[in-house]
Symmetry: C2
Subunit: 275 residues, 2 copies
């Protein structure tokens, strides 16, 4: 099999990364995709760097059972905490969401005051501020973790008073710091784009630009494969989905996150993939 | 070592079970306690029965490395999904929170209309309704899962508009059903007791009695050890705490859940305890 036919591997702690997979499928419809959601061990966002790195390594081991042209870490926490370690002994290009999101934030910001929201592990790692400052050393960066947004999204409470008041509380320190750009540093957060815009506009009278890391990492993946001449010219790509807990719930929510092209999900045991 | 000196083992998916451990320590101050929080794999509440049973079995394996006089499953989901399997090949008495909570609900209810709230796995299992109906066949039982209450409790948002509106929304179908008793079927929920009472009284004009499974399982544990003559007559018991993810966060939140007697926490690898 040539490298053009090889698949793109994507993994996340659960279903959130399907927003990245959907974007990849939309922009690269001919590519074969293998998606793994580590649902038996989710969430990664509240867990320690060592544990997240260990989990991410088993995900990569699983994906690498077949030839890949690239691996995308569609999880901000794993990108922040595990990417550097994983890259060491990997010949396949590995893309995380932090660097593309940081580059887009630096490009988008008018005044250099940038907010970052994410789950606890991502925010505590300081990865976004470091990445943004390496491009825009004058940037003023304000970070805040928003742990309740993930369970709100999974509960389907995307509108109404509860998510609105939750967002107002989380965004208040960012509004006080007068940010002009906000990085959505968790794959679930883009589901609240409309409400976030609304809170900034109506509650705080501000015009803040939002950066969606799912879109940014997909753009970089396209560039990379184009530059290396590895885009698949064949027919429509195959999409395969795997998870580590029972697949029923994943199948239901997966369709909401990925769309109608979502096919069957198979459960795998990652412990069995490591010697 | 005599069975009187043996410890009481308690486990939970994380820190919530410390409310049970605190109650046990308060009522049985001379007993040695070993607490295990499976923080690397939390939460159990959204995961499948097979996965929860597998995780619970490794927790029991770890606790049984030393002599125990009883094991308490301080987690509603694991009690609902794994207790029956675990009991099979165990000579140590094993107590879950479901049966004691169900007995208390049947005893407390005046009109036999009983509400149950819990995490998804507990509610889907139907364990509380089955257990209550076996005692009070005429009972009318209404269940509702309240997934957002756990992250709200861990975020420390125990008062204010967000938890109040969240509770009002979750409790509405229970208020419509005119329940007179409510089982708090998750170890985190007792932290919202005041607010739940407030919502029922002020928003719905109702007087609903709350059943706290942590208190009930502890009462049954006391009875069991007294009946069997296994209470420890010696000095104050030792308390030891273990978790499966990095201990720093557990130590901080643990003190809030357990109180000042909370001592150091050690991280353990449960995979290493199974051959």
């Amino acid at each position: 099999m040539s490298l053009r036919d090889a698949a793109i591997g994507i993994f996340d702690s659960g279903i959130g990364g399907l927003t990245v997979a959907r974007e990849v499928a939309r922009r690269l419809p001919n590519e074969h995709l293998i998606y793994l959601g580590d649902t038996a061990r989710l969430p990664y966002g509240s867990k320690s760097p060592v544990t997240v790195s260990r989990y991410a390594a088993t995900c990569v081991d699983f994906l690498r059972r077949e030839p890949l042209k690239a691996i995308v870490i569609a999880c901000n926490t794993a990108s922040a905490l595990a990417l550097a370690d994983l890259e060491h002994d990997l010949e396949v290009p590995l893309l995380g969401v932090i660097a593309p999101g940081a580059r887009a934030a630096a490009r988008t910001s008018r005044g250099g005051v940038i907010g970052v929201i994410g789950q606890e592990g991502t925010v505590r790692s300081g990865s976004y501020p470091r990445a943004i400052e390496s491009i825009l050393p004058s940037a003023k960066i304000v970070s805040h973790d928003c742990p309740l947004l993930v369970p709100l999204a999974e509960e389907g409470w995307l509108t109404g008073e509860v998510p609105r008041l939750t967002l107002r509380r989380y965004l208040e320190p960012l509004a006080c710091a007068k940010i002009d750009t906000l990085v959505l540093g968790c794959t679930h957060y883009p589901l609240f784009k409309t409400l976030i815009n609304d809170v900034f506009t109506k509650d705080y009278g501000m015009d803040v630009r939002l950066v969606d890391s799912a879109e940014e990492v997909t753009a970089e993946l396209c560039d990379l494969l184009t530059r290396r001449g590895r885009l698949n010219g064949g027919g429509p790509g195959r999409r395969r989905f795997f998870c580590t807990d029972a697949p029923e719930r994943f199948a239901v929510v997966g369709r909401r996150f990925f769309g109608d092209e979502f096919t069957e999900v198979r459960q795998v045991d990652l412990n069995a993939s490591r010697p």
